[in-house]
Symmetry: C2
Subunit: 213 residues, 2 copies
């Protein structure tokens, strides 16, 4: 991350620390602004003013406000993974050998993230903007969504090898059976998004709706 964020900056400890501080301030400013004003009305100038940096600092590191915002969310994910003990910043999907328990743990944690008052507004604003702007949507999927879906795919593939997922099931479709309903309930606010719902989804998806004859 530091390599792309501070190209050409001399790597003395002080300047690295200053860069790191500016980078975090810019992320915080971008997230709070888009949460308050929406994506369309968030500007690089506004982010710079709130972060207390010059706008050239932002332009030096990122090509667009979309890039700043997407990286702010990637950074949030990395921080969450570090807090959860993921080590080098890479998030690992739990594999205790109990597929249902692992999926419930991850979906419950996802529920907690989605309803976190600090990040719900910017996350909704960015998602809504991507829904009507195909280029932004494609970046959102490529940088944020698909990498996280691939973690599920990896776990489901391991489960399939262990005989816990039926042969013939496409893990990439299976992951949508879990993540799709969660996202639908969150985005459209149809009914409360709770841990009990996360558990019910996992049970329904694994057990299937049809009776076992």
């Amino acid at each position: 991350m530091a390599d792309t964020a501070t190209p050409g900056t001399p790597r003395t400890p002080d300047s690295t620390r200053r860069s790191e501080r500016s980078r975090r301030a810019i992320y915080e400013a971008a997230l709070s602004l888009v949460g308050e004003a929406g994506y369309a009305r968030t500007t690089i100038e506004g982010i710079a003013a709130r972060a207390g940096v010059g706008k050239q600092t932002i332009y030096r590191w990122w090509p667009s406000k979309a890039a700043v915002l997407l990286e702010a969310f990637v950074d949030l994910g990395e921080q969450a993974a570090e807090a959860a003990g993921g080590g080098d910043g890479g998030y690992e999907f739990p594999d205790t050998g109990d597929l249902a328990a692992d999926l419930k743990a991850v979906l419950r944690a996802t529920v907690d993230e989605l309803v976190d008052p600090k990040y719900e507004a910017p996350s909704r604003a960015l998602t809504a903007a991507g829904i009507v702007d195909p280029a932004l949507g494609a970046e959102f999927v490529e940088k944020l969504l698909e990498p996280s879906l691939q973690l599920y795919v990896g776990r489901l593939r391991a489960a399939q090898e262990a005989g816990d997922v039926r042969e013939g099931i496409d893990p990439r479709v299976a992951v949508e059976l879990l993540v799709g309903p969660l996202s639908h309930r969150w985005l459209l606010r149809t009914l409360p998004l709770t841990h009990a719902y996360a558990d019910a989804l996992v049970d329904c998806a694994l057990g299937g709706l049809a009776p076992r004859r």
Copy 2:
């Protein structure tokens, strides 16, 4: 519909026909404008100008642009149901006795509607606006989404009584297992939204991901 759309208008055949023509023109204008300019930049004035009516005509029938748009989508749904032979405008969920076949037919038809170039842009614009505006989102759910989800619930409940859905499954959760992934793929454009995907979803959801032991 006519009773709420033309309160106080004398019911001579001519004025009814004129009202009906204006109402349809207003819906068409609202859908095309929101598709082109987005929800935030669509105004009652703009809708009136494009529909060729005075803005007082719109204010007489609807309290807000949200109400116009939501009713435009309700009307679209009714037209689609009439075209599909639903008779009095009420859409009926197919019940051939074959749950998988009925679900696949409805999900395939939903795919066709979602990717219809005429309505995809306004539908995305309205959904995205509801994601960041809780009051609009609640109206969207109440008037458009939940009534259509309840049609699935009815079919799934009948299937449960017929022994084709496991006891203990909540039909309202089950419907999200089908509709959630479809909506996720459509809104976020992760992968192609096809009939084959609709079929795979139904098979995965009914059969379950876990092996039948």
